[in-house]
Symmetry: C2
Subunit: 170 residues, 2 copies
DNA sequence: TATGAAACCTACCTAGT
DNA sequence: ACTAGGTAGGTTTCATA
């Protein structure tokens, strides 16, 4: 009787090492992206599995690194960071080797929300949220334009930032 | 005995309508940004308040709109979106009035993770996550470069995206 | 490996200070 | 407005199929 089908399996790892997810996993991820605080019981019902099974699946997704974490989304204005900007940064060619280092140092700053390392005319894109324009100016001066490894910066104000909570289901 | 001090108050609204948070609120937000699934009991302990007080505070923060939501963070590679790109979009001057409309339509697409509306040489910055470069090419063609309202696009591959889970505490 | 039940723990509400 | 207590419900573990 080894020909019996296996209806559910949870996250696997392929021969090459890539994670393989089934439809149930994708459904769980999709719902957790939509609502990170959904109860295990409700999540199980949405996925059509038992709560205990759901719990084990979510744990496996966490431990395999597919689920990286859960975070609250806070209104920037309420915490005194109502002004957002995107800063394109070009490094000196000689400093390109330290690109990752520079980027991760920037990411440590409280003003910084995102750092994108790019392949293009600009090397880095820095998304910041600050209180006002003097604070923005101070940040650019202190951490970017006066740095020896930075060749050029271009700052654009962000009128609106629409974050689309991922779509693992599609 | 009306001279007794009021040690804690929770989120207020100032005369102008802006939300005013105290140190405890900021601590709660900071911890919830770090770990959106922390238990109410543990959160209360970190903030130095009683669990029931903590529960009421968090509820008030949700209802006032300061806490916008909770979302899981998923590894893009695991869900078949290992290729990220940033696309700078410039609209036709005549189409600038429809900027918000265009941006929100883009944000509906499953490939789109972020849409930034800018004040600068480019009007919009679109952060996308796709499976491979044919899918990237198809997205740019179908939703951007062949559109009449789009004057120019410039696509840069994203080597790495560091998202800094906000810092409401500072 | 998925399930179902049992023990533990947490969230939530009510009342009191 | 914070604290304390009680109840209902959820999470987690474990034995079973």
């Amino acid at each position: 009787m080894d020909s019996q089908q296996r209806p559910l399996a949870g996250p696997h790892r392929s021969a090459f090492g890539a994670i393989v997810l089934d439809d149930v996993d994708r459904r769980l991820l999709s719902e957790l992206e939509r609502d990170g605080r959904i109860s295990n019981k409700e999540l199980a019902a949405l996925a059509g599995i038992a709560p205990s099974t759901c719990h084990a699946r979510v744990r496996a997704l966490r431990e395999s690194g597919v689920l990286r974490g859960f975070h609250a989304q806070v209104d920037p204005e309420a915490v005194g960071r109502g002004l957002q900007a995107m800063i394109a940064v070009r490094l000196q060619p000689s400093a390109r080797a330290r690109l990752a280092e520079v980027a991760h140092r920037l990411a440590q700053r409280p003003e910084v929300r995102d750092v994108y390392l790019l392949a293009g005319v600009d090397d880095v894109l820095v998304h910041v949220a600050v209180r006002d324009s003097p604070e923005l100016r101070a940040f650019v001066l202190e951490h970017l334009s006066t740095r020896p490894e930075v060749a050029h910066t271009q700052t654009s104000l962000v009128f609106e930032h629409v974050h689309a909570p991922g779509t693992a289901s599609l």
